[in-house]
């Protein structure tokens, strides 16, 4: 076990899979000679050359489109969105093509690709650059959506995503890139669609993923000092959703809080809430509560941004509210 950052974990995952399989290649803006806008792909072009680590023009529809076409004929592309804020320009490719051609062809086509990059708020990059758009991908049958919260999960799940034969949307979080954690030294993968209980507790179940899982664990520490034991479940994969462990936990704690960095309406968190009230109806002592970004665009000023992003204190407050 080595202590490495999520940045290193992601970089290792890609390097190892590219070594393992010549069909794996990387394509995106500044991924090669600039070493990645966030340095996630550092060193790869030196090792694998321009055809397997490809800098592109600023053309998101082509970045995703090239990945889809190459995947259809047997390659295993990893397409990087410099940030997922720009992925709306590639959404048609993912939703109408990557997710549907297998179906429309009666099972003749497969699309083993990964669309990856940072998602969510960074630091003061304002409204257009601070969005959590996982709901756009989670809404769509035919796609797989993964959002890791630790270096280990990031490496194991990215390796699984690259080996997976379905189109996978792999959403990272810029703020977590420098987060350190233990990662096994040997070759390993974490199965897609496997949630993990990141902390056990008997009073309340917190469902949270990516950066919000991290924030929730901090909230759990605060609450523990007050004798409130939170069970924090990290789905890790958003689609398909590993529901059973969530339901199991709620049936034990009888209380549920869902923490999400995205806006509240028509979101992943709303769906999990719907599933919990449906499957744990007789076990809930209180309605499922949710913590989200306010239902407004992200402001630039740091004093406002701090109020915007769900903080441990706010999560703790909501937990007390659900237990009240």
């Amino acid at each position: 076990m080595a202590m490495i950052t999520m940045r290193e974990a992601l970089n290792q995952a890609m390097r190892e899979e590219m070594k393992r399989d010549p069909k794996v290649f990387l394509i995106g803006e500044e991924v090669a000679h600039y070493q990645g806008a966030y340095k996630i792909t550092a060193g790869l072009v030196q090792e694998f050359g321009d055809w397997r680590v490809r800098d592109t023009p600023i053309s998101e529809e082509v970045i995703a489109g090239v990945a889809v076409g190459a995947a259809w004929v047997g390659m295993r592309p990893i397409a990087e969105m410099m940030t997922f804020n720009f992925s709306m320009l590639a959404l048609d490719i993912m939703v109408n093509h990557a997710a549907k051609y297998r179906y429309m062809s009666g099972g003749q086509i497969r699309c083993p690709m990964v669309l990856r990059g940072p998602s969510g708020a960074a630091a003061q990059v304002a409204a257009q650059h601070s969005q959590s758009l996982e709901s756009y991908f989670a809404h769509v049958p035919g796609l797989v959506v993964i959002m890791p919260s630790t270096p280990k999960d990031a490496k194991g799940l990215l390796k699984a995503a690259i080996r997976d034969d379905n189109p996978v949307v792999f959403m990272e979080n810029e703020v977590l890139y420098n987060l350190k954690g233990e990662v096994p030294d040997e070759d390993f993968i974490i199965p897609i669609g496997l949630s993990e209980v990141k902390r056990t507790g008997q009073h309340v179940t917190i469902v949270a993923w990516s950066r919000m899982c991290y924030q929730s664990l901090l909230a759990a520490d605060i609450l523990a000092r007050e004798g409130i034991e939170c069970e924090v479940v990290d789905p890790r994969t958003i689609r398909p959703l590993d529901e059973a462990p969530i339901f199991e936990s709620v049936r034990k704690t009888n209380h549920c809080v869902i923490v999400e960095e995205a806006w509240p309406q028509a979101s992943v968190g709303a769906y999990i809430s719907d599933r919990v009230q449906r499957e744990c109806f007789d076990y809930l002592d209180a309605p499922v509560l949710r913590v989200n970004a306010p239902d407004v665009p992200m402001p630039y000023s740091k004093v406002l941004e701090k109020l915007y992003v769900p903080q441990p204190e706010k999560i703790a407050l909501t937990v007390k509210q659900v237990l009240a």
Binding site: S59, R102, S105, Q108
Partner: protein
Amino acid sequence: MSKKPAPTKTRGRSVPAKPAPAKASSATKTQAAAPAAAGKPSKGAPPLERTEALRVYRQMLLIRRFEERAQQVYVEGKIGGFLHLYIGQEAIACGIMSLLRKDDYFLGAYRDHGYTLARGADPKPLMAELMGRSTGISRGKGGSMHFYDIPNGNFGGDGIVGGHIPIAAGIGYAIRMRGSDQCVVCFFGDGAINEGAFHEAMNVASLWDLPVVFVVENNMYGMGTSVERASAVTALHERGAAYGMIHLPCDGMDVFQVRDTFADAFARARKDKKPTFVEVITYRYRGHSMSDPGKYRSKEEVEKWHEKDPIARVGLFLLEQKVATTATLEAIDKDVMLEVDECIKFAEESPWPPAEYMYEDIYVKTPTLNWRAVEKDPAWERSLPDDRVPVVYPPHVSTVKG
């Protein structure tokens, strides 16, 4: 065999050309420049063998009769949704497919019957697909707009105008990684070239030297909108100059010229790995789809184009060359009609897709998945570990260093 006419002549003949002088002038300039830019004289295609010529004739006729019958059956309510007919454009698909190699790829938009038939697919599963039967080439789940035949490199029909153009660049990219001399043909319409997707894909195909042959089938209209009302420059192939890509026009009503033009384009793709942008000038005889009466076109205009009918043209050639007699041609037509009748029979006798089909072919069953999570999800539960038909990849994928 007809040679390429001077581009300007082609334009004059085919497009009611009234572009602003600036545009026109720059137009001819670039057109003239294009072949030169190829850096070598046009070789053209080898003359068609007598038998091969007959085969192409029969194939063009099959597309037409197949679609004429489909149109009837549609009116009878046995086909639903959109039905876009290729009638009038047969020479393009047949000319190109007559040169395409077994291991090449192609993809296009929703007007896709012609490509699939020209590639030599059995027409029975195609008619069954139109009627939504389980024996359809896409198991009744795609319909007219979504014919795919992957073992033959047919990545078929896209319902999103322009959406498949970046994907064609991706197939070209994979070919370069492999280092093989395959190529990919990307068909799209005159309306599609105003989508951003076209622009982004053309730029990278030229920038990275991808073996993609871009074919804009300029049939003069995108639905009810003429090229003049949609594109600031009406000589569509000139858009290629913006990407430093070799670009030229071609008479799409003449299968021989189509073959000459594309033989060069394929050679360029295989040897030099360079893309080509060809504007094939043609016409769709029918409305955009079954719901379109085509009021925006004059009777005279439509008739003018029927005089250039691509099938009649080949028929005439066969007679002139003494390859066939009127009797032979009639016999071929009869034979084709019979084949289409059998398609209808096959389709109507085929079973409807069972309910389970709805949940199949969404995901690939993969070992990287935590099975327990999805055991109650029919979309996963009914997924297969492999594709329904084996997709042809080259045995070994070699990657080239850039």
